[in-house]
């Protein structure tokens, strides 16, 4: 309770004492947006941690070895993650549903266990020290990036691209019959998602003095956590996964009185949300559920917001 009391009565102290949490929420929200794009186009891809790893290691290694500026490091990570997205997407995007999920998990694990834990350059499982990290200063950059990402999501889902994605998610065959190049639009979504994940990975690495190649960071555990953001928040509207990321990331603080039983309590909470709101916290109809009644909103007939 203290957590919320402080948030509302003394936001400045809250900000100062929880900066790291806020930064992590921002990072997770960007990753959740990456998940949103693939889910919105009907692809159950769990590849995000792999692309995050690519973004993170690229950026940190460039910093250590070449001392290049941060912006360039992250940009390089983003580009590499995008390229990896193309290479991974070409073979796996023929798969659907749970088969796609398994194939992308295969990519994540092959990258982590096969490459990262074996290459001398990535520290061979011991991780990498990142001396130039800036945990507290990075938060502004993270939140600014999140705003840009949310704006992009909002605009992309409104246009022709978003309409095509929504159609593919609903029924690929029917989308084909409307002249939509299904495999192309799925590829666009997959690569865009990889790019966002790479970006989030680079940002996250900048917040930590140590790049940890563990499972909870770049492995299946992280993939499941990211999927939880989207499922809990609702994947029909771009705000959903971000809300999910906020809730899931904050849960340990909300339930801190549970001490040793904190995992039990958070697990029960997640189950309760899914049972009572299977469409996610932000369900279909976008923000209707959390929008105050007096807020002006356009007639839905006029608003072509897919999803």
């Amino acid at each position: 309770m203290d957590f919320f009391i402080q948030l509302f009565t003394d936001p400045v102290t809250f900000w100062n004492s929880h900066t790291l949490l806020i930064a992590q929420i921002g990072i997770n929200s960007i990753i959740a947006s990456s998940m949103f794009i693939v889910l919105y186009s009907g692809q159950l891809s769990l590849a995000a941690p792999g692309f995050m790893a690519i973004g993170a290691y690229t950026s940190v290694l460039m910093d250590i070895d070449w001392h290049t500026p941060l912006a360039l490091n992250i940009a390089a990570g983003v580009v590499l993650a995008g390229l990896a997205g193309v290479l991974v997407g070409l073979p796996v995007l023929r798969l659907r549903g749970v088969f796609l999920a398994i194939a992308t998990i295969g990519f994540v694990e092959a990258l982590r266990l096969g490459v990262i834990l074996n290459l001398p350059i990535t520290g061979e499982g011991l991780g990498l020290k990142n001396p130039t990290a800036d945990p507290l200063g990075g938060v502004n950059m993270v939140l600014a990036s999140l705003l840009v990402v949310l704006f992009l999501m909002w605009r992309l889902t409104k246009g022709r691209l978003g309409a095509a994605w929504a159609a593919i998610r609903q029924d690929e065959l029917a989308a084909l019959s409307q002249g939509i190049n299904v495999s192309r639009y799925k590829m666009i979504a997959f690569v865009l998602s990889a790019v966002l994940a790479g970006f989030a990975g680079g940002l996250e690495a900048h917040l930590n003095f140590f790049v940890d190649p563990g499972d909870q960071q770049y492995g299946v555990t992280r993939a499941v956590q990211i999927l939880t953001f989207a499922v809990l928040g609702g994947s029909g509207h771009f705000v959903g996964p971000v809300v999910g990321a906020m809730v899931v990331t904050t849960l340990p603080w909300i339930f801190q009185q549970a001490h040793d039983y904190i995992n039990v309590v958070t697990g029960a909470f997640l189950i309760a949300v899914i049972v009572f709101r299977p469409q996610g916290i932000v369900g279909r109809g976008g923000l209707a559920i959390i929008r105050p009644a007096w807020w002006p909103h356009r007639n839905r007939v006029r608003a072509p917001s897919p999803g």
Binding site: R155, G159, A163, Q170, S177, G179, I180, N181, V301, R302
Partner: protein
């Protein structure tokens, strides 16, 4: 010619789904495509629209070659379609569905979107006006339903919305796959008017439907498919009197085929006078029946499949229930088995109320259905399929003689295998490798293991080659001789009428005729129930 197909071939494994079909659709016409179940109509449409590749042949849309193009390119060239089982984007609003249809003629606005340029708003406004106009064209009020998720619209509106979405593509050719399926007569009339109106505006339509009244009424030319081949083409009048078409729809009689049976009358031969229809005196319904159905009405959501059907089956009879596709035959059987609950009416088997009893209780009572399409477990062996059929049986369990019970079940399995020797030969093979006829035998054998007093057979001859049909029907007759009462649903009407004591003719959910098998065999009204006219 707008659409030209030249010797299109499509095989699935050994099955010739489309076998050398050539077809020409004239610009501005409404062209019908009909054929019995499994004739290859939908496969042909899937081939034209690029969903499934074809092995050989050529296809052109005017001067554009369709051969080898992916589906989205073919759509962009101007072939748009609706689906047999509606495929709207269910969670998108009605309006959004139509907007998606404009994909190919909408410029890529991603960058304009990101920059939130005003050009987007202007384009969007014109698109919305366009979509609204399309919805009005197909008879939907955009104002009222435009904002509703497509999946929540009434059935008839969904059909219309799918057409609006297809029109949004501005197609040169519109393919309608069973647009009137499941509609009531007035909705069908509305659909017919819509198709004619679209055609008057210059749209070419390829229409597939089982409702002969619709197809024959609206089309200028009709092509008929059977077993993947085009067996006839011509005006509706020519086609509906064509001997091979009648044969394809009504089936062929076996050795007992009578010269005056509708399937036997060749082209040019004098048809039996229509007045003969009046001769169909209803055969005396049995006084004591084990199955009594009164005034049964069944619907799926907004679609009424069976309207006030009444029928009776007495012990020891073979009763046939015949009618065209979509007439409601299977719905009646599924209702009797307790799989569907009726809206109104009664159905009793002995003293058991079939409208409320659990399906498992109905089976235990001795009413057993062999479902359409066999529904065998393809990956299990033949023997496992039969053993699983006895799973729920507890012979001897209550008297403490479980061992003897198991032995008796084993003996029963051997007994049905003796009746269908082919199953004994194939007992260790997985059921999916059996031929269609053998699978049907297996399905019937499985039904027999439930010890039926009344056996419901749903389309036992579906998709079978003629010799196989003979074998299946011989087996049915033998089962009947051994004392099992049978209610038989068949598309192959002549064949069913031959072995039936009595029969009911079902048309759009209503029982239109009933009588003894022999009477109906000679009744031209039966042909009309299938082919319209």
């Amino acid at each position: 010619m707008l659409l030209r197909l030249d010797k299109i071939q499509r095989h699935f494994g050994g099955v010739h789904a489309v076998d050398g079909v050539s077809l020409e659709v004239e610009q501005g016409s409404i062209h019908g495509l009909i054929g019995p179940n499994g004739a290859g109509k939908t496969t042909l449409v899937n081939v034209i629209t690029g969903y499934v590749p074809f092995q050989s042949g050529h296809a052109w849309l005017q001067s554009d070659k369709l051969t080898g193009l992916p589906a989205h390119r073919i759509a962009a060239l101007g072939i748009s379609r609706t689906f047999q089982n509606i495929r709207l984007f269910k969670d998108l609003t009605a309006m959004e569905n139509v907007l998606v249809g404009m994909h190919t003629r909408r410029r890529d606005d991603t960058l304009a979107q990101l920059a939130t340029l005003p050009v987007f708003r202007r384009d969007e406004r014109s698109r919305l006006d366009d979509a609204r106009a399309l919805m009005e064209t197909v008879g939907l009020a955009a104002k009222d339903i435009g904002g509703r998720p497509a999946g929540t619209l009434p059935y008839g509106d969904q059909r219309r919305l799918e057409i609006a979405r297809a029109l949004a593509l501005r197609p040169r050719l519109l393919i309608l796959d069973e647009p009137a399926a499941g509609m009531n007569p007035s909705e069908k009339q509305g659909m017919r008017e819509l198709i004619e109106r679209l055609n008057d505006d210059g749209l070419t339509v390829l229409l597939i439907d089982h409702d002969m009244r619709l197809v024959m009424g609206v089309c200028k030319r009709v092509a008929v498919l059977d077993f993947g081949r085009k067996i006839a083409e011509g005006t509706p009048d020519e086609v509906s009197t064509d001997a091979s078409v009648i044969k394809a729809y009504l089936g062929t009689g076996g050795d007992k085929a009578v010269a005056s049976a509708p399937g036997a009358s060749a082209v040019g031969e004098a048809e039996p006078p229509i007045e003969a229809a009046a001769d169909a005196r209803p055969a005396a319904e049995p006084q004591t029946a084990i199955l009594e159905v009164e005034d049964l009405t069944v619907s799926y959501g907004a679609v009424t499949a069976v309207r006030g059907a009444s029928l009776r089956v007495a012990a020891g009879e073979v009763v046939a229930l015949i009618g065209a596709n979509g007439a409601g035959k299977s719905t009646i059987l599924n209702t009797l088995s307790g799989l569907i609950r009726p809206d109104s009416g009664t159905a009793r088997f002995d003293r058991l109320d079939l409208t409320t009893a659990k399906p498992s209780a109905i089976v235990r009572h001795g009413l057993v259905q062999v479902p359409e399409g066999r529904e065998i477990l393809a990956r299990q062996t033949v023997l496992e399929n039969l053993e699983l059929a006895t799973w729920g049986r507890r012979d001897g369990a209550d008297t403490g003689q479980a061992h003897a019970g198991r032995a008796s079940i084993k003996a029963q399995i051997e007994a049905v295998m003796k009746r269908f020797p082919i199953l004994s030969e194939r007992r260790a093979l997985s059921a999916g490798t059996l031929s269609g006829g053998e699978q049907q035998m297996l399905a019937i054998a499985r039904g027999l293991l439930a010890k039926p007093r009344l056996l419901l057979l749903d389309e036992p001859s579906l998709g079978l080659a003629p010799q196989m049909v003979d074998e299946v029907f011989a087996a049915i007759e033998e089962i009947h001789r051994e004392g099992t009462t049978i209610l038989l649903v068949e598309q192959n009407a002549l064949r069913a009428l031959e072995i039936a004591d009595r029969a009911y003719v079902l048309e759009t959910g209503q029982i239109k005729l009933s009588g003894s098998g022999d009477d109906l065999l000679h009744n031209p009204a039966v042909r009309r129930a299938y082919l319209g006219g």
